[in-house]
């Protein structure tokens, strides 16, 4: 199975580093998905949500407040100012990270639409997550 290596780094540390099936990024000109063997490109990202499809078919999401991504054939690197991974093994952990992610988005983005879209996505993700 084809996979690509995704790395999300912030100045405060590495948030995510693993092989994944696909990833959807909030590009400056609109959302775009990356599958393995994607053409190389560099672009800016806006505040939003990164949707990651893991190797086992499950999804993980990470909220970012600004970013920059570099896509190579088999790897994606995201540089972000702040990033919060939404996840955890219990419901309360998910809720907690969800709150943190919302705060992160609110603190930076001046576009209400972007916040609303991202928040809706995160919430639906948190709700559909099975434990």
């Amino acid at each position: 199975m084809n996979t690509l290596k995704l790395e999300i780094v912030t100045p405060e540390g590495q948030i995510f580093s693993n092989d994944v099936k696909s990833v959807t990024l909030p590009g400056k000109e609109g959302e775009f998905g990356v599958l393995p063997n994607h053409a190389s490109l560099v672009t800016l990202l806006q505040a939003g949500v990164i949707d990651i499809e893991l190797k086992d078919g499950n999804h993980d999401i990470v909220a970012i407040n600004w970013g920059h991504s570099k896509v190579d054939e088999n790897s994606v690197t995201v540089l972000a100012d702040g990033a919060v991974s939404i996840g955890g093994s219990t419901e309360s952990e998910v809720a907690k990270s969800l709150e943190a992610a919302k705060a992160l988005l609110k603190s930076i983005s001046d576009s209400d639409v972007a916040i609303a879209i991202a928040t809706a996505k995160m919430e639906s993700f948190a709700k559909t997550r099975k434990f």
Binding site: T10, P11, K28, E29, A39, L41, T43, L44, D72
Partner: protein, 294 residues
Amino acid sequence: MANLKEIKRKIKSVQNTQKTTRAMKLVSTAKLKRAEMAAKQSRVYAIKINEVLSEIAYKINQYKNGAVESRFFDKDETPKIVDVIFVTADKGLCGGFNIQTIKAVRKLLSEYADQKITVRLHAVGRKGIAFFNFQGIELHTSYAGVSSSPSYEKAQEIVQKAIQDFIDKKTDKVILVHNGYKNMISQELKVVDVVPVDSPLEVLETNSLMELEPDESGEEILDSLLQKYFEYNMYYALIDSLAAEHSARMQAMENATNNAKERVNVLTLAYNKARQESITTELIEIISGVESMK
């Protein structure tokens, strides 16, 4: 007898000091570990941003067949106004840690004064602020309370103005001075010219197939990345300085504890001598009293 009491009191006082310094050393050791970890974690980001920066610079070079037209790369040989951002600790009791940074800043000041270049000082950390205020040297901006708990947001706040002034051509150069962490027992003074960026950046020629998305946004991406690069440098200076501060304090407190130990030994010796002397005097008094009764 009064002498004996006095010495005893001194011993107690030195022992108390020793307790404090030992505790401070332990605290610094623990904090140093945390600061070191933070520095280590953020290094991943440094590597990545350098990679991406050099690739984009290379890419734009290709498009334009020449120099990158960004103020961030425009090396001005004769700067007129220079920003100096320096980081000191908020607290003392860490040996020569703060003084080293201050000395370096003063050296820069006098060098630039000789060349008739205006320097604007941006101070981070109470110790540096206090020093320059006392000397009557004007600080352009000052930030207290950041050094002991650095965060990326605070770093952004500090450099935002400096970046804007640089882009608006109000300043020609920005220098970052801080005392950095080298290893557990030594610090290293770092004076870095943040912008203009030392060009040419180390250019990687491998990924020449990379596309910029959207096509014409190369310079925009580069500029925003360079701002991040600047902010990151500031953040790194803060955490590096914190690690160095703790290592310096650890060492200073270790020395203080050892000195206190030595003092206690000397004082104990003096105490015992005084005690013996007083016993001897008492004995002589008793004996001579008995003798006189005969």
